[in-house]
Subunit: 334 residues, 2 copies
């Protein structure tokens, strides 16, 4: 169930760049997936891609119009409707990560049916996943685990994939959240999977592969985040990773959304995640640390990374800011 | 969303007692919930309750006909249909834990509507659960965690509840699986909850209560069972237990359904579960051990329990076979 690429990125009436997070992710991480952008009057976001009409997008090869804008409350704006209906008539599939589903909009469903197009709601699974069987799979797997939610696990995995491809290594980023699924065109929306099938969905996402191929699995949640820790453990046990990357954001004062909960140290994360990972894969190792330093000055960030690396005896970098070289070196050494 | 009690227990054409597991659980743990049993010709199961007609059941006060028999593949047998339709006409609600849902049977849906009755499919949630907020709740909570699945966690919790009630203590068994839900009339079918809401569903199940009240939360899965470990961790973090009971079945040669995975020791279970539980409740303690000794001779079982108790420095019993006294003593001491 892959979304057809390339895309035309729909920015709608996004008030600013922050609202266009999904489109920015696609532009930054899969530029080959985006032929251009299309906006409505008053749009405050600009990706710097060619602004196209629906017809120009189709001529440039676009197969899917991706809603690259997050609306307040995850709604599908009535202001977008004419454009979305025109897109279906022009031969586009539609893809959305919004809370409100394309498939619940009667006019879109009707138009999609009339024109033989697909509506992709990436927030909900389109597959009946199996229950995990725990059998050892060929190929290698790397998983990013975090001290908290939203500390840069997805960016770490994508930065590593890019660096590995640049070196000619075999690697595939495996999305487990809606943004990653829209960026690449496929994946598992893990937070929407039924409890019994979580680990199985990750086995399904990361099947047997070449012995020298790496799956770079997108992390979710945190073992220390009580709202989502179960999702994280399912990811660890379904993914049976050979390598863990520890992810951290040093300026966080408490767990995201949980004012009463402080963050664990990187040592606590290592000592909690590794024994759990070794239940599924006794050979698993912690190989490196990815720090999200976006709220730190360059000098302070470099000092922090050097200190962490020294303290933990592991390579430590901000893979988005300073490159993923040393994390990829660590994987290559396994 | 509680199922109306008391029940009339429907045994259908169960070939033997094994197929009547749900009905047996109700008879053993909530005898006050069952006014009698009703069978079809050729039924090989007998609970020893009064065999009644539908009319006699209603006269005895029964409000719900519970399907107490597990059919092959979880199907609703066509042979049961006349009886189920008659029950709706006679004023019964229906409750089922089968995989195939009552609500997907058109004739039952139509009859339920015509007679103003409810169809309860306890395998799927009937509530939109919140995302867990991790806030400390009043009252005390005990959770059974296992070295494996199906090692007696539910029976341990129910045996403790019975003993606590006998002592006049405030306690409520909180079911998290279909059998427990049918036995008590309510609970959370955790394995069917959407990933993001697992921990929240357990917060919902075990709300603020009297300071001296114990919720005895039914455990699910195992942190060491890679298929379901995420469910277990959500239960630990959503339940924020004050007390953990370790559960074990000593004759198991490998993890249930996973031939390549050996069971952890009770020490490994303690050392894994307790630090994770303390993320949600720093005061959490491991207070006792419940061993399922059903495959051991009495003498061997008693020797085993004495050895485990000595080794772990904790009370150890088979609460179903030898009573839950010492586990309740341990809770009472907190």
């Amino acid at each position: 169930m892959m979304i057809q690429t390339p895309y035309l990125l729909f920015l709608g009436d996004a008030p600013d760049m922050l609202a266009a997070k999904v489109a920015i992710g696609i532009r930054d991480w899969r530029p080959e997936n985006a032929v251009g952008q299309i906006s409505l009057p008053g749009c405050g976001a600009d990706l710097g891609l060619t602004e196209m009409t629906l017809a120009e997008g189709r001529e440039a090869g676009a197969k899917t119009l991706v809603i690259g804008v997050a609306n307040r409350g995850g709604a599908i704006s009535p202001k977008w409707k004419d454009m979305l209906l025109d897109a279906l008539a022009a031969g586009y599939d539609l893809a959305s990560g919004l809370h409100n589903l394309l498939r619940n909009e009667d006019d879109l469903v009707e138009a999609a049916k009339a024109h033989g197009r697909a509506l992709h709601d990436v927030r909900i699974p389109s597959v009946q996943y199996p229950i995990a069987n725990g059998e050892k799979r060929r190929g290698k797997r790397c998983l990013a685990v975090g001290t908290d939610c939203s500390v840069g696990k997805m960016y770490a995995a994508m930065a590593m994939e890019r660096e590995m491809h640049a070196r000619g290594m075999k690697a595939t980023f495996r999305p487990t959240g809606q943004t990653g699924i829209l960026i690449t065109g496929g994946g598992v929306p893990l937070d929407a999977v039924i409890a019994d099938f979580m680990a199985g969905s990750i086995e399904y996402l990361t099947p047997d592969h070449d012995a020298d191929h790496w799956d770079l699995i997108e992390g979710q949640g945190s073992l220390f985040h009580i709202s989502y820790s179960g999702v994280t453990l399912a990811l660890i046990h379904g993914g049976q990773p050979d390598a863990l990357i520890l992810c951290h954001e040093p300026t966080r004062t408490h767990m995201r959304g949980l004012p009463g909960y402080s963050l664990p140290s990187l040592e606590q994360l290592r000592d909690t995640a590794l024994p759990l990972a070794r239940i599924a894969n006794p050979a698993c190792q912690v190989v490196g640390i990815a720090v999200n330093t976006q709220h730190m000055e360059t000098g302070g960030a470099r000092d922090y990374l050097a200190g962490v690396s020294q303290r933990m005896g592991l390579p430590a970098t901000d893979p988005y800011r300073f490159g993923a070289d040393m994390l990829v070196d660590a994987l290559a050494a396994i």
